[in-house]
Amino acid sequence: MSSWLDKIMPSMIRSETHQRTTVPEGLWKKCPKCNAFLYRPELEKNQDVCPKCQHHLRISARRRLDIFLDPEERHEIGTELEPTDRLKFKDSKRYKDRLSQAQKASGEKDALVAMSGKVRGIPVVACAFEFNFMGGSMGAVVGEKFVQGVNIALERGIPLVCFSASGGARMQEAIISLMQMAKTSAALERMKQRGLPYISVMTDPVFGGVSASLAMLGDLNIAEPFALIGFAGPRVIEQTVRETLPKGFQRSEFLLEHGAIDMILHRGEMRRRIASLLAKMQNLPALEPAPEDEIVDVDEEEA
Protein backbone atom coordinates (compact mmCIF):
# COMPACT_ATOMS: atom_id res chain seq x y z
CA MET A 1 0.00 0.00 0.00
CA SER A 2 2.71 2.43 0.97
CA SER A 3 4.76 1.63 -2.14
CA TRP A 4 1.71 2.31 -4.27
CA LEU A 5 1.32 5.63 -2.52
CA ASP A 6 4.99 6.40 -3.06
CA LYS A 7 4.60 5.94 -6.73
CA ILE A 8 1.77 8.36 -7.21
CA MET A 9 3.18 10.96 -4.85
CA PRO A 10 4.47 13.98 -6.70
CA SER A 11 8.25 13.91 -6.88
CA MET A 12 8.69 17.27 -5.18
CA ILE A 13 7.01 15.95 -2.04
CA ARG A 14 8.81 12.66 -2.31
CA SER A 15 12.23 14.18 -2.63
CA GLU A 16 11.81 15.80 0.77
CA THR A 17 11.58 12.48 2.51
CA HIS A 18 13.69 10.25 0.26
CA GLN A 19 17.11 10.46 -1.29
CA ARG A 20 16.71 11.14 -5.01
CA THR A 21 18.68 8.02 -5.85
CA THR A 22 16.38 5.66 -4.00
CA VAL A 23 13.63 6.27 -6.54
CA PRO A 24 14.38 4.94 -10.03
CA GLU A 25 15.29 8.08 -11.95
CA GLY A 26 12.37 9.26 -14.01
CA LEU A 27 9.84 6.58 -13.28
CA TRP A 28 7.31 9.33 -13.20
CA LYS A 29 7.13 12.29 -15.47
CA LYS A 30 5.07 15.41 -15.18
CA CYS A 31 3.19 16.48 -18.27
CA PRO A 32 4.40 20.03 -18.96
CA LYS A 33 0.98 21.02 -20.21
CA CYS A 34 -1.64 19.50 -17.89
CA ASN A 35 0.75 18.78 -15.01
CA ALA A 36 -0.54 15.23 -14.68
CA PHE A 37 1.96 12.72 -13.28
CA LEU A 38 2.51 10.05 -15.83
CA TYR A 39 3.91 6.60 -15.33
CA ARG A 40 6.86 6.38 -17.65
CA PRO A 41 6.40 2.90 -19.16
CA GLU A 42 2.82 3.85 -19.89
CA LEU A 43 3.92 7.13 -21.44
CA GLU A 44 6.51 5.39 -23.60
CA LYS A 45 3.96 2.95 -24.89
CA ASN A 46 1.94 5.99 -25.94
CA GLN A 47 4.98 7.40 -27.84
CA ASP A 48 5.46 10.08 -25.17
CA VAL A 49 2.09 11.63 -25.76
CA CYS A 50 0.29 12.48 -22.52
CA PRO A 51 -2.70 10.13 -22.28
CA LYS A 52 -4.57 12.74 -20.24
CA CYS A 53 -4.31 15.81 -22.46
CA GLN A 54 -2.69 14.48 -25.66
CA HIS A 55 0.28 16.85 -25.21
CA HIS A 56 3.24 15.75 -27.31
CA LEU A 57 6.33 15.63 -25.13
CA ARG A 58 9.79 16.12 -26.61
CA ILE A 59 11.56 12.93 -27.63
CA SER A 60 15.10 12.16 -28.71
CA ALA A 61 16.15 12.05 -32.35
CA ARG A 62 16.92 8.35 -32.21
CA ARG A 63 13.58 7.54 -30.62
CA ARG A 64 11.85 9.65 -33.25
CA LEU A 65 13.44 7.72 -36.11
CA ASP A 66 12.82 4.46 -34.30
CA ILE A 67 9.10 5.21 -34.09
CA PHE A 68 8.99 6.39 -37.69
CA LEU A 69 11.05 3.93 -39.71
CA ASP A 70 10.46 0.27 -40.42
CA PRO A 71 12.74 -1.81 -38.19
CA GLU A 72 14.52 -3.39 -41.15
CA GLU A 73 17.14 -1.92 -43.44
CA ARG A 74 18.10 1.15 -41.47
CA HIS A 75 21.48 2.67 -42.26
CA GLU A 76 22.78 5.64 -40.39
CA ILE A 77 24.25 8.47 -42.45
CA GLY A 78 27.29 10.62 -41.68
CA THR A 79 28.36 8.81 -38.52
CA GLU A 80 31.94 9.97 -39.15
CA LEU A 81 31.03 13.65 -38.76
CA GLU A 82 32.23 15.32 -35.59
CA PRO A 83 32.01 18.95 -34.57
CA THR A 84 35.17 21.01 -34.22
CA ASP A 85 35.68 24.35 -32.55
CA ARG A 86 37.06 26.14 -35.57
CA LEU A 87 36.69 29.60 -34.09
CA LYS A 88 38.00 28.67 -30.62
CA PHE A 89 34.77 30.15 -29.31
CA LYS A 90 34.52 30.95 -25.66
CA ASP A 91 31.80 32.63 -23.65
CA SER A 92 31.32 31.78 -20.00
CA LYS A 93 32.39 28.30 -21.12
CA ARG A 94 34.50 26.98 -23.95
CA TYR A 95 32.55 25.71 -26.92
CA LYS A 96 34.75 22.62 -26.81
CA ASP A 97 33.57 21.90 -23.29
CA ARG A 98 29.97 22.57 -24.21
CA LEU A 99 30.33 20.07 -27.03
CA SER A 100 31.69 17.29 -24.89
CA GLN A 101 29.07 18.00 -22.25
CA ALA A 102 26.31 17.85 -24.87
CA GLN A 103 27.75 14.66 -26.31
CA LYS A 104 27.75 13.06 -22.92
CA ALA A 105 24.24 14.22 -22.08
CA SER A 106 22.67 13.20 -25.39
CA GLY A 107 24.81 10.29 -26.51
CA GLU A 108 25.03 11.93 -29.95
CA LYS A 109 28.01 13.52 -31.67
CA ASP A 110 25.96 16.49 -32.79
CA ALA A 111 22.37 17.66 -33.07
CA LEU A 112 21.16 15.70 -36.12
CA VAL A 113 20.65 11.99 -36.69
CA ALA A 114 20.08 10.84 -40.27
CA MET A 115 19.20 7.42 -41.63
CA SER A 116 18.16 5.80 -44.82
CA GLY A 117 15.44 3.22 -44.41
CA LYS A 118 11.83 2.51 -45.20
CA VAL A 119 8.51 3.71 -43.93
CA ARG A 120 5.80 1.13 -44.52
CA GLY A 121 7.98 -0.31 -47.26
CA ILE A 122 8.63 3.01 -49.00
CA PRO A 123 12.34 3.87 -49.20
CA VAL A 124 13.18 7.21 -47.59
CA VAL A 125 15.92 9.22 -46.02
CA ALA A 126 14.79 10.45 -42.62
CA CYS A 127 16.54 12.78 -40.24
CA ALA A 128 15.70 14.16 -36.84
CA PHE A 129 17.08 16.94 -34.67
CA GLU A 130 18.31 16.11 -31.20
CA PHE A 131 16.99 18.94 -29.04
CA ASN A 132 19.04 17.74 -26.08
CA PHE A 133 22.21 18.54 -27.98
CA MET A 134 22.64 22.30 -27.45
CA GLY A 135 18.98 22.99 -28.15
CA GLY A 136 19.08 21.21 -31.49
CA SER A 137 21.13 24.09 -32.85
CA MET A 138 22.41 23.93 -36.40
CA GLY A 139 26.14 24.14 -36.97
CA ALA A 140 28.42 22.73 -39.64
CA VAL A 141 27.88 19.08 -38.73
CA VAL A 142 24.10 19.40 -38.80
CA GLY A 143 24.29 21.13 -42.18
CA GLU A 144 26.73 18.62 -43.63
CA LYS A 145 24.82 15.60 -42.36
CA PHE A 146 21.58 17.00 -43.71
CA VAL A 147 23.16 17.53 -47.12
CA GLN A 148 24.63 14.02 -47.08
CA GLY A 149 21.09 12.79 -46.45
CA VAL A 150 19.81 14.86 -49.36
CA ASN A 151 22.58 13.49 -51.57
CA ILE A 152 21.57 9.92 -50.80
CA ALA A 153 17.96 10.79 -51.55
CA LEU A 154 19.07 12.34 -54.86
CA GLU A 155 21.25 9.34 -55.78
CA ARG A 156 18.52 6.84 -55.10
CA GLY A 157 15.65 9.02 -56.24
CA ILE A 158 13.83 8.68 -52.91
CA PRO A 159 12.00 11.17 -50.65
CA LEU A 160 13.33 12.98 -47.61
CA VAL A 161 11.54 13.45 -44.31
CA CYS A 162 12.99 15.74 -41.66
CA PHE A 163 11.78 16.09 -38.08
CA SER A 164 13.00 19.39 -36.75
CA ALA A 165 13.30 20.52 -33.13
CA SER A 166 15.71 23.39 -32.82
CA GLY A 167 16.35 26.77 -31.28
CA GLY A 168 18.05 27.88 -34.50
CA ALA A 169 21.60 28.43 -35.68
CA ARG A 170 24.45 27.62 -33.31
CA MET A 171 25.97 30.87 -32.09
CA GLN A 172 29.27 29.24 -31.18
CA GLU A 173 29.93 28.51 -34.84
CA ALA A 174 29.07 32.11 -35.72
CA ILE A 175 28.98 32.88 -39.44
CA ILE A 176 29.63 29.25 -40.41
CA SER A 177 26.35 28.26 -38.76
CA LEU A 178 24.50 31.04 -40.59
CA MET A 179 25.81 29.64 -43.86
CA GLN A 180 24.25 26.27 -43.05
CA MET A 181 20.89 27.91 -43.74
CA ALA A 182 21.98 28.59 -47.31
CA LYS A 183 23.64 25.21 -47.63
CA THR A 184 20.64 23.13 -46.55
CA SER A 185 18.21 25.27 -48.56
CA ALA A 186 20.33 24.92 -51.70
CA ALA A 187 20.37 21.14 -51.29
CA LEU A 188 16.59 21.05 -50.84
CA GLU A 189 16.19 23.10 -54.00
CA ARG A 190 17.92 20.23 -55.84
CA MET A 191 15.33 17.81 -54.44
CA LYS A 192 12.63 20.08 -55.74
CA GLN A 193 14.18 20.36 -59.20
CA ARG A 194 14.37 16.56 -59.35
CA GLY A 195 10.74 16.21 -58.32
CA LEU A 196 11.55 14.26 -55.18
CA PRO A 197 9.20 14.82 -52.23
CA TYR A 198 10.47 16.53 -49.11
CA ILE A 199 8.28 16.44 -46.03
CA SER A 200 9.19 18.73 -43.15
CA VAL A 201 7.75 17.78 -39.79
CA MET A 202 8.08 20.47 -37.14
CA THR A 203 8.07 19.35 -33.54
CA ASP A 204 8.29 21.48 -30.45
CA PRO A 205 10.14 23.85 -30.81
CA VAL A 206 11.43 25.20 -34.17
CA PHE A 207 12.90 28.69 -34.37
CA GLY A 208 15.40 30.99 -36.00
CA GLY A 209 17.80 29.68 -38.57
CA VAL A 210 16.27 26.23 -38.77
CA SER A 211 12.75 27.55 -39.13
CA ALA A 212 13.95 30.09 -41.74
CA SER A 213 15.60 27.44 -43.88
CA LEU A 214 15.03 23.69 -44.09
CA ALA A 215 11.97 23.49 -41.82
CA MET A 216 9.75 25.79 -43.90
CA LEU A 217 10.76 24.44 -47.30
CA GLY A 218 8.78 21.21 -47.31
CA ASP A 219 6.57 20.27 -50.22
CA LEU A 220 4.48 19.48 -47.23
CA ASN A 221 4.97 21.27 -43.95
CA ILE A 222 3.52 19.24 -41.10
CA ALA A 223 3.54 19.98 -37.38
CA GLU A 224 2.82 18.06 -34.24
CA PRO A 225 0.00 19.53 -32.13
CA PHE A 226 0.80 22.56 -29.95
CA ALA A 227 4.43 22.83 -31.10
CA LEU A 228 5.96 26.29 -30.76
CA ILE A 229 7.19 27.39 -34.19
CA GLY A 230 8.37 30.77 -35.44
CA PHE A 231 11.17 32.95 -36.65
CA ALA A 232 11.77 35.15 -33.62
CA GLY A 233 11.19 33.87 -30.11
CA PRO A 234 8.07 35.13 -28.29
CA ARG A 235 10.10 37.04 -25.71
CA VAL A 236 12.08 38.92 -28.34
CA ILE A 237 8.86 39.85 -30.11
CA GLU A 238 7.21 40.98 -26.90
CA GLN A 239 10.19 43.21 -26.08
CA THR A 240 10.20 44.65 -29.59
CA VAL A 241 6.53 45.39 -30.11
CA ARG A 242 5.63 45.94 -26.45
CA GLU A 243 2.28 44.30 -26.89
CA THR A 244 0.77 41.19 -25.40
CA LEU A 245 1.03 38.35 -27.85
CA PRO A 246 -2.24 36.87 -29.11
CA LYS A 247 -3.46 33.66 -27.55
CA GLY A 248 -1.92 30.57 -29.06
CA PHE A 249 0.67 32.70 -30.87
CA GLN A 250 3.24 30.61 -32.79
CA ARG A 251 1.60 27.32 -31.91
CA SER A 252 0.99 24.74 -34.66
CA GLU A 253 -2.72 25.56 -34.66
CA PHE A 254 -1.89 29.25 -35.18
CA LEU A 255 0.40 28.36 -38.08
CA LEU A 256 -2.26 26.20 -39.69
CA GLU A 257 -4.73 29.04 -39.36
CA HIS A 258 -2.27 31.45 -41.03
CA GLY A 259 -1.42 29.15 -43.88
CA ALA A 260 2.14 28.25 -42.93
CA ILE A 261 1.62 24.50 -42.64
CA ASP A 262 -0.45 21.88 -44.45
CA MET A 263 -1.63 19.89 -41.47
CA ILE A 264 -1.19 18.96 -37.86
CA LEU A 265 -0.61 15.28 -37.25
CA HIS A 266 -0.80 13.37 -34.01
CA ARG A 267 2.40 11.49 -33.30
CA GLY A 268 0.50 8.22 -33.26
CA GLU A 269 -0.60 8.59 -36.85
CA MET A 270 2.56 10.20 -38.23
CA ARG A 271 4.00 7.01 -39.70
CA ARG A 272 0.85 5.87 -41.41
CA ARG A 273 -0.15 9.28 -42.75
CA ILE A 274 3.30 10.22 -44.06
CA ALA A 275 3.69 6.81 -45.73
CA SER A 276 0.32 7.26 -47.36
CA LEU A 277 1.19 10.80 -48.49
CA LEU A 278 4.53 9.68 -49.90
CA ALA A 279 2.82 6.85 -51.77
CA LYS A 280 0.45 9.34 -53.39
CA MET A 281 3.20 11.84 -54.14
CA GLN A 282 5.22 9.16 -55.93
CA ASN A 283 2.28 7.53 -57.63
CA LEU A 284 2.71 4.25 -55.77
CA PRO A 285 -0.18 1.87 -55.05
CA ALA A 286 -2.24 2.55 -51.92
CA LEU A 287 -0.80 1.10 -48.73
CA GLU A 288 -2.18 -2.10 -47.30
CA PRO A 289 -3.64 -1.64 -43.82
CA ALA A 290 -1.17 -2.87 -41.23
CA PRO A 291 -1.78 -4.38 -37.79
CA GLU A 292 -0.08 -1.38 -36.18
CA ASP A 293 -2.91 0.86 -37.39
CA GLU A 294 -5.21 -0.80 -34.89
CA ILE A 295 -3.14 -0.11 -31.82
CA VAL A 296 -2.77 3.57 -32.43
CA ASP A 297 -5.36 5.21 -30.30
CA VAL A 298 -5.94 8.69 -31.54
CA ASP A 299 -8.75 10.88 -30.46
CA GLU A 300 -9.60 12.53 -33.76
CA GLU A 301 -11.23 15.51 -32.16
CA GLU A 302 -8.20 16.21 -30.02
CA ALA A 303 -5.81 15.88 -32.91
Binding site: V141, M171, I176, L178, M179, K183
Partner: protein, 317 residues
Protein backbone atom coordinates in the same frame (compact mmCIF):
# COMPACT_ATOMS: atom_id res chain seq x y z
CA UNK B 1 30.86 64.67 -26.75
CA UNK B 2 30.34 65.23 -30.44
CA UNK B 3 27.78 62.61 -31.45
CA UNK B 4 29.15 62.56 -34.97
CA UNK B 5 32.21 60.88 -33.49
CA UNK B 6 32.15 57.55 -31.68
CA UNK B 7 33.74 57.37 -28.24
CA UNK B 8 37.01 55.91 -29.49
CA UNK B 9 37.19 58.82 -31.95
CA UNK B 10 36.91 61.54 -29.28
CA UNK B 11 40.61 62.54 -29.44
CA UNK B 12 40.06 63.20 -33.15
CA UNK B 13 36.91 65.17 -32.38
CA UNK B 14 38.77 67.39 -29.93
CA UNK B 15 41.51 68.09 -32.43
CA UNK B 16 39.02 68.87 -35.16
CA UNK B 17 37.23 71.27 -32.79
CA UNK B 18 40.51 73.04 -32.12
CA UNK B 19 41.17 73.38 -35.83
CA UNK B 20 37.73 74.82 -36.35
CA UNK B 21 38.32 77.33 -33.55
CA UNK B 22 41.62 78.46 -35.02
CA UNK B 23 39.99 78.87 -38.37
CA UNK B 24 37.40 81.22 -36.90
CA UNK B 25 40.08 83.22 -35.12
CA UNK B 26 42.12 83.30 -38.33
CA UNK B 27 39.28 84.91 -40.18
CA UNK B 28 39.14 88.06 -38.08
CA UNK B 29 42.81 88.68 -37.32
CA UNK B 30 45.78 89.43 -39.49
CA UNK B 31 47.98 86.87 -37.82
CA UNK B 32 48.79 84.06 -40.20
CA UNK B 33 47.89 80.90 -38.40
CA UNK B 34 47.65 78.72 -41.46
CA UNK B 35 50.84 76.96 -40.52
CA UNK B 36 49.36 76.02 -37.17
CA UNK B 37 46.14 74.80 -38.80
CA UNK B 38 48.06 72.68 -41.26
CA UNK B 39 50.17 71.24 -38.50
CA UNK B 40 47.06 70.27 -36.53
CA UNK B 41 45.39 68.89 -39.64
CA UNK B 42 48.21 66.51 -40.36
CA UNK B 43 48.26 65.59 -36.69
CA UNK B 44 44.54 64.79 -36.94
CA UNK B 45 45.15 62.57 -39.96
CA UNK B 46 47.91 60.62 -38.27
CA UNK B 47 45.86 60.35 -35.09
CA UNK B 48 42.95 58.96 -37.11
CA UNK B 49 45.29 56.53 -38.84
CA UNK B 50 46.62 55.36 -35.49
CA UNK B 51 43.18 54.91 -33.95
CA UNK B 52 41.75 53.18 -37.02
CA UNK B 53 44.67 50.82 -37.34
CA UNK B 54 43.68 49.16 -34.12
CA UNK B 55 39.89 48.84 -33.97
CA UNK B 56 38.20 46.09 -32.01
CA UNK B 57 35.33 44.09 -33.55
CA UNK B 58 33.01 46.08 -31.30
CA UNK B 59 34.39 49.43 -32.56
CA UNK B 60 33.80 48.16 -36.09
CA UNK B 61 30.27 47.10 -35.17
CA UNK B 62 29.54 50.66 -34.12
CA UNK B 63 31.08 52.06 -37.27
CA UNK B 64 28.93 49.66 -39.31
CA UNK B 65 25.90 51.17 -37.57
CA UNK B 66 27.09 54.77 -37.72
CA UNK B 67 24.08 57.03 -38.33
CA UNK B 68 25.96 58.95 -41.02
CA UNK B 69 27.05 55.84 -42.87
CA UNK B 70 25.95 55.69 -46.51
CA UNK B 71 22.92 53.44 -47.09
CA UNK B 72 21.82 51.50 -50.16
CA UNK B 73 20.06 54.42 -51.86
CA UNK B 74 23.13 56.64 -51.31
CA UNK B 75 25.23 54.15 -53.25
CA UNK B 76 22.52 53.83 -55.87
CA UNK B 77 22.81 57.60 -56.42
CA UNK B 78 26.58 57.63 -56.46
CA UNK B 79 27.29 54.49 -58.48
CA UNK B 80 24.42 53.77 -60.87
CA UNK B 81 22.56 55.59 -63.63
CA UNK B 82 18.94 55.58 -64.61
CA UNK B 83 17.54 53.85 -61.52
CA UNK B 84 13.86 52.93 -61.57
CA UNK B 85 12.65 51.83 -58.20
CA UNK B 86 10.13 48.98 -58.28
CA UNK B 87 7.66 48.50 -55.48
CA UNK B 88 5.62 45.84 -53.78
CA UNK B 89 5.38 42.08 -53.39
CA UNK B 90 2.05 41.88 -55.29
CA UNK B 91 0.52 40.08 -52.34
CA UNK B 92 0.32 42.28 -49.32
CA UNK B 93 2.37 45.49 -49.23
CA UNK B 94 5.46 47.40 -50.19
CA UNK B 95 8.11 47.01 -47.53
CA UNK B 96 10.27 50.13 -47.33
CA UNK B 97 13.02 48.30 -45.44
CA UNK B 98 14.04 46.68 -48.72
CA UNK B 99 14.41 48.71 -51.89
CA UNK B 100 14.86 47.37 -55.36
CA UNK B 101 14.85 48.34 -58.98
CA UNK B 102 16.52 48.35 -62.36
CA UNK B 103 19.46 50.60 -63.11
CA UNK B 104 22.54 50.77 -65.27
CA UNK B 105 26.10 50.14 -64.17
CA UNK B 106 28.45 51.59 -66.77
CA UNK B 107 25.66 51.20 -69.27
CA UNK B 108 24.77 47.60 -68.41
CA UNK B 109 21.29 46.91 -66.98
CA UNK B 110 21.39 45.41 -63.49
CA UNK B 111 18.86 44.55 -60.81
CA UNK B 112 19.55 46.24 -57.50
CA UNK B 113 18.15 44.97 -54.21
CA UNK B 114 19.16 46.28 -50.82
CA UNK B 115 18.15 46.87 -47.25
CA UNK B 116 17.39 50.51 -46.55
CA UNK B 117 17.72 52.30 -43.24
CA UNK B 118 16.44 55.78 -42.55
CA UNK B 119 18.37 58.77 -41.29
CA UNK B 120 15.79 61.07 -39.68
CA UNK B 121 13.21 59.84 -37.18
CA UNK B 122 10.35 59.80 -39.66
CA UNK B 123 12.44 58.08 -42.29
CA UNK B 124 13.75 55.57 -39.75
CA UNK B 125 10.21 54.59 -38.87
CA UNK B 126 9.20 54.38 -42.52
CA UNK B 127 12.17 52.09 -43.18
CA UNK B 128 11.46 50.17 -39.97
CA UNK B 129 15.13 50.67 -39.00
CA UNK B 130 16.12 48.48 -41.92
CA UNK B 131 14.30 45.44 -40.56
CA UNK B 132 12.27 43.80 -43.33
CA UNK B 133 8.98 42.02 -42.97
CA UNK B 134 8.02 39.05 -45.15
CA UNK B 135 6.73 41.43 -47.84
CA UNK B 136 10.25 42.81 -48.22
CA UNK B 137 11.72 39.38 -48.86
CA UNK B 138 8.88 38.53 -51.23
CA UNK B 139 9.44 41.75 -53.14
CA UNK B 140 13.12 40.80 -53.39
CA UNK B 141 12.08 37.35 -54.61
CA UNK B 142 9.87 38.83 -57.29
CA UNK B 143 12.62 41.14 -58.50
CA UNK B 144 15.22 38.39 -58.54
CA UNK B 145 13.00 36.12 -60.61
CA UNK B 146 12.38 39.01 -62.96
CA UNK B 147 16.11 39.68 -63.25
CA UNK B 148 16.59 36.04 -64.21
CA UNK B 149 13.91 36.30 -66.92
CA UNK B 150 15.52 39.38 -68.42
CA UNK B 151 19.05 38.11 -67.94
CA UNK B 152 20.21 40.90 -65.66
CA UNK B 153 22.90 40.39 -63.04
CA UNK B 154 21.73 40.98 -59.49
CA UNK B 155 23.57 43.26 -57.09
CA UNK B 156 22.44 43.15 -53.50
CA UNK B 157 23.41 45.49 -50.67
CA UNK B 158 23.17 44.14 -47.16
CA UNK B 159 22.54 46.49 -44.25
CA UNK B 160 20.08 45.25 -41.64
CA UNK B 161 20.01 44.56 -37.91
CA UNK B 162 17.89 41.52 -38.85
CA UNK B 163 14.45 40.48 -40.05
CA UNK B 164 11.73 42.23 -38.05
CA UNK B 165 10.55 40.31 -34.99
CA UNK B 166 6.89 41.33 -34.98
CA UNK B 167 3.48 39.74 -34.63
CA UNK B 168 2.35 40.48 -38.19
CA UNK B 169 5.69 39.36 -39.58
CA UNK B 170 5.23 35.99 -37.89
CA UNK B 171 1.63 35.71 -39.02
CA UNK B 172 2.64 36.30 -42.62
CA UNK B 173 5.46 33.77 -42.52
CA UNK B 174 8.77 35.50 -41.87
CA UNK B 175 10.61 32.18 -41.73
CA UNK B 176 9.10 30.94 -44.96
CA UNK B 177 9.83 34.18 -46.79
CA UNK B 178 13.51 33.99 -45.82
CA UNK B 179 13.84 30.26 -46.50
CA UNK B 180 12.22 30.68 -49.89
CA UNK B 181 14.80 33.25 -50.96
CA UNK B 182 17.69 31.07 -49.80
CA UNK B 183 16.45 28.25 -52.00
CA UNK B 184 15.63 30.52 -54.93
CA UNK B 185 18.98 32.30 -54.90
CA UNK B 186 20.87 29.01 -54.95
CA UNK B 187 19.57 28.28 -58.43
CA UNK B 188 19.29 31.68 -60.16
CA UNK B 189 20.85 31.52 -63.60
CA UNK B 190 22.18 35.08 -63.47
CA UNK B 191 25.20 36.31 -61.50
CA UNK B 192 24.52 37.45 -57.95
CA UNK B 193 27.02 39.72 -56.25
CA UNK B 194 26.32 40.78 -52.68
CA UNK B 195 28.02 43.50 -50.68
CA UNK B 196 27.68 44.01 -46.96
CA UNK B 197 27.74 47.80 -46.67
CA UNK B 198 26.88 48.06 -42.97
CA UNK B 199 25.27 45.48 -40.73
CA UNK B 200 24.76 41.91 -41.90
CA UNK B 201 22.25 40.75 -39.32
CA UNK B 202 21.63 37.03 -39.47
CA UNK B 203 18.99 35.34 -41.64
CA UNK B 204 17.47 38.70 -42.43
CA UNK B 205 20.71 39.58 -44.21
CA UNK B 206 21.34 36.20 -45.79
CA UNK B 207 17.86 36.24 -47.36
CA UNK B 208 19.24 38.62 -49.99
CA UNK B 209 22.82 37.43 -49.65
CA UNK B 210 23.17 33.98 -51.23
CA UNK B 211 25.64 34.81 -53.98
CA UNK B 212 28.51 34.07 -56.31
CA UNK B 213 30.73 36.71 -54.72
CA UNK B 214 30.46 38.28 -51.30
CA UNK B 215 32.07 41.64 -50.77
CA UNK B 216 32.32 43.38 -47.45
CA UNK B 217 33.21 46.99 -46.83
CA UNK B 218 36.15 47.31 -44.47
CA UNK B 219 34.03 48.42 -41.49
CA UNK B 220 31.00 46.26 -42.12
CA UNK B 221 29.98 43.26 -40.02
CA UNK B 222 28.19 40.00 -40.72
CA UNK B 223 27.03 37.58 -38.05
CA UNK B 224 24.60 34.86 -37.11
CA UNK B 225 23.13 36.98 -34.33
CA UNK B 226 23.78 40.54 -33.17
CA UNK B 227 26.59 40.86 -30.61
CA UNK B 228 23.97 42.11 -28.11
CA UNK B 229 21.70 39.12 -28.80
CA UNK B 230 24.58 36.68 -28.49
CA UNK B 231 25.74 38.34 -25.25
CA UNK B 232 22.31 38.29 -23.67
CA UNK B 233 21.95 34.57 -24.38
CA UNK B 234 25.46 33.31 -23.67
CA UNK B 235 26.66 35.87 -21.13
CA UNK B 236 23.16 36.56 -19.78
CA UNK B 237 23.60 40.30 -20.34
CA UNK B 238 23.76 42.52 -23.42
CA UNK B 239 26.57 44.41 -21.73
CA UNK B 240 28.98 41.76 -22.90
CA UNK B 241 28.33 42.69 -26.53
CA UNK B 242 31.95 43.61 -27.17
CA UNK B 243 33.11 40.19 -25.96
CA UNK B 244 30.46 38.54 -28.11
CA UNK B 245 31.56 40.55 -31.16
CA UNK B 246 35.11 39.42 -30.50
CA UNK B 247 34.17 35.76 -29.98
CA UNK B 248 31.99 35.55 -33.09
CA UNK B 249 34.50 37.40 -35.24
CA UNK B 250 31.97 39.68 -36.89
CA UNK B 251 34.31 41.97 -38.83
CA UNK B 252 35.11 41.82 -42.54
CA UNK B 253 38.74 40.71 -42.31
CA UNK B 254 37.83 37.78 -40.08
CA UNK B 255 35.12 36.66 -42.49
CA UNK B 256 37.57 36.83 -45.33
CA UNK B 257 39.99 34.67 -43.36
CA UNK B 258 37.18 32.15 -42.85
CA UNK B 259 36.52 32.08 -46.59
CA UNK B 260 33.01 33.51 -46.29
CA UNK B 261 33.79 36.94 -47.75
CA UNK B 262 35.68 37.04 -51.03
CA UNK B 263 36.91 40.57 -50.90
CA UNK B 264 37.18 43.38 -48.39
CA UNK B 265 36.81 46.82 -49.91
CA UNK B 266 38.89 49.46 -48.18
CA UNK B 267 37.09 52.46 -46.72
CA UNK B 268 38.25 56.08 -46.68
CA UNK B 269 40.17 57.14 -43.59
CA UNK B 270 37.74 57.31 -40.68
CA UNK B 271 35.08 55.22 -42.41
CA UNK B 272 32.74 55.40 -45.40
CA UNK B 273 30.72 58.26 -43.90
CA UNK B 274 33.77 60.59 -43.91
CA UNK B 275 33.88 60.44 -47.67
CA UNK B 276 30.92 58.69 -49.30
CA UNK B 277 32.00 59.74 -52.81
CA UNK B 278 35.38 58.10 -52.44
CA UNK B 279 33.78 55.01 -50.93
CA UNK B 280 31.38 54.81 -53.86
CA UNK B 281 34.26 55.07 -56.32
CA UNK B 282 36.04 52.11 -54.69
CA UNK B 283 32.83 50.09 -54.50
CA UNK B 284 31.89 50.83 -58.09
CA UNK B 285 35.28 49.69 -59.35
CA UNK B 286 34.95 46.44 -57.37
CA UNK B 287 31.42 45.80 -58.63
CA UNK B 288 32.37 46.40 -62.25
CA UNK B 289 35.32 44.08 -61.90
CA UNK B 290 33.31 41.38 -60.12
CA UNK B 291 30.51 41.43 -62.66
CA UNK B 292 32.96 41.25 -65.55
CA UNK B 293 34.37 38.04 -64.05
CA UNK B 294 30.96 36.52 -63.42
CA UNK B 295 29.42 37.43 -66.74
CA UNK B 296 31.94 35.31 -68.58
CA UNK B 297 30.72 32.13 -66.87
CA UNK B 298 28.04 30.04 -68.68
CA UNK B 299 24.88 29.96 -66.58
CA UNK B 300 24.90 26.21 -65.84
CA UNK B 301 28.43 26.42 -64.62
CA UNK B 302 27.62 29.53 -62.62
CA UNK B 303 24.81 27.70 -60.79
CA UNK B 304 26.99 24.64 -60.22
CA UNK B 305 29.84 26.73 -58.83
CA UNK B 306 27.46 28.59 -56.54
CA UNK B 307 26.08 25.29 -55.29
CA UNK B 308 29.56 24.01 -54.58
CA UNK B 309 30.40 27.23 -52.81
CA UNK B 310 27.32 26.92 -50.59
CA UNK B 311 27.78 23.25 -49.75
CA UNK B 312 31.45 23.79 -48.96
CA UNK B 313 30.73 25.89 -45.85
CA UNK B 314 32.51 23.44 -43.89
CA UNK B 315 31.84 20.71 -41.52
CA UNK B 316 34.54 20.34 -38.98
CA UNK B 317 35.93 16.99 -39.89
Amino acid sequence: MNPYYLDFEQPIAELEAKIEELRLVGNDTDININDEINRLKSKSVSLTETIFSDLTPWDITRLARHPKRPYTLDYVDLIFDDFDELHGDRRFADDHAIVGGIARLEGEPVMIIGHQKGREVKEKVKRNFGMPRPEGYRKACRLMEMAERFNMPILTFIDTPGAYPGIGAEERGQSEAIAWNLALMSRLKVPVLSTVIGEGGSGGALAIGVCDRLYMLQYSIYSVISPEGCASILWKSAEYASQAAEAMGVAAERLKALGVADRVIGEPLGGAHRNPELMATHLKAALVEGLAELKGIPSDELVQRRYERLTAYDSGR
